[in-house]
Point group: C2
Chain length 132, copies 2
């Protein structure tokens, strides 16, 4: 993976970002102070927002306008969402492991003879095995 993809590249100045998100520029400054969004900065300290930041702003807007959540709540909700997504990925990874293991286990049980037969042929030519 490369470090930053297109979505992560900070490109919009605050005025454009605010317009894209349908918000007041001052609101974006408030959100940054409360650490809800972390735009990049130019050397001259002008804020630069990425597409990901814009998406985040829209999500915050949904929580505050539609759901009526305040900013303290938004912060915690976003953290929980992140933890949920991480855990969801963990579950998916484990699901793969479980089905893979169960497939192997079934394989191992269905065909033990085949494997053993191979182990038998490594005996020296002409030798006999006596059954009890």
């Amino acid at each position: 993976m490369s470090g930053k993809n297109r979505e992560d590249r900070p490109v919009y100045m605050i005025g454009v970002a605010a317009q894209l998100a349908g918000m007041h520029p001052q609101t974006l400054r408030i959100y940054e102070r409360k650490k809800l969004v972390r735009p990049g900065r130019t050397a001259k300290s002008t804020r630069l927002y990425s597409q990901k930041d814009i998406d985040c702003l829209k999500y915050i807007q949904d929580l505050t306008q539609t759901e009526g959540v305040n900013l303290a709540g938004v912060k915690i909700i976003m953290e929980l969402q992140k933890r949920l997504e991480d855990l969801q990925r963990t579950v998916e990874g484990m699901e793969k492991r479980v089905t893979e293991n169960e497939r192997r286990l079934a394989e191992e049980r269905a065909a033990p003879t085949r494997r053993y037969a191979y182990e038998l042929v490594v005996l020296p030519k002409g030798e006999l095995v006596k059954a009890r």
Copy 2:
């Protein structure tokens, strides 16, 4: 499992519940209206709070007082917490399944000879097996 355990039994009337949670009784009524807590009711519609309800009230108090979250936020946070706990239980169940399967798989691989040896002795007495 029995349906209700000790924690779930609604026993405290609103005045006692409010005292235990360190809140105003009226606040408890507000929380019920917003569906943050669902106390039981007597036939005469007097609210009855369980220990679980009291714990829930204390959790809400922590979110509102310490974290500054409003009630809309509390509602969503509690839902997310529940989903996280459910998912956490799923992960634990899967972990058990993974380790159990991997143990069996290792067992199956470490001792194929033992199992095959058994399969060999079911041959009729005195019969011979010729190696290639």
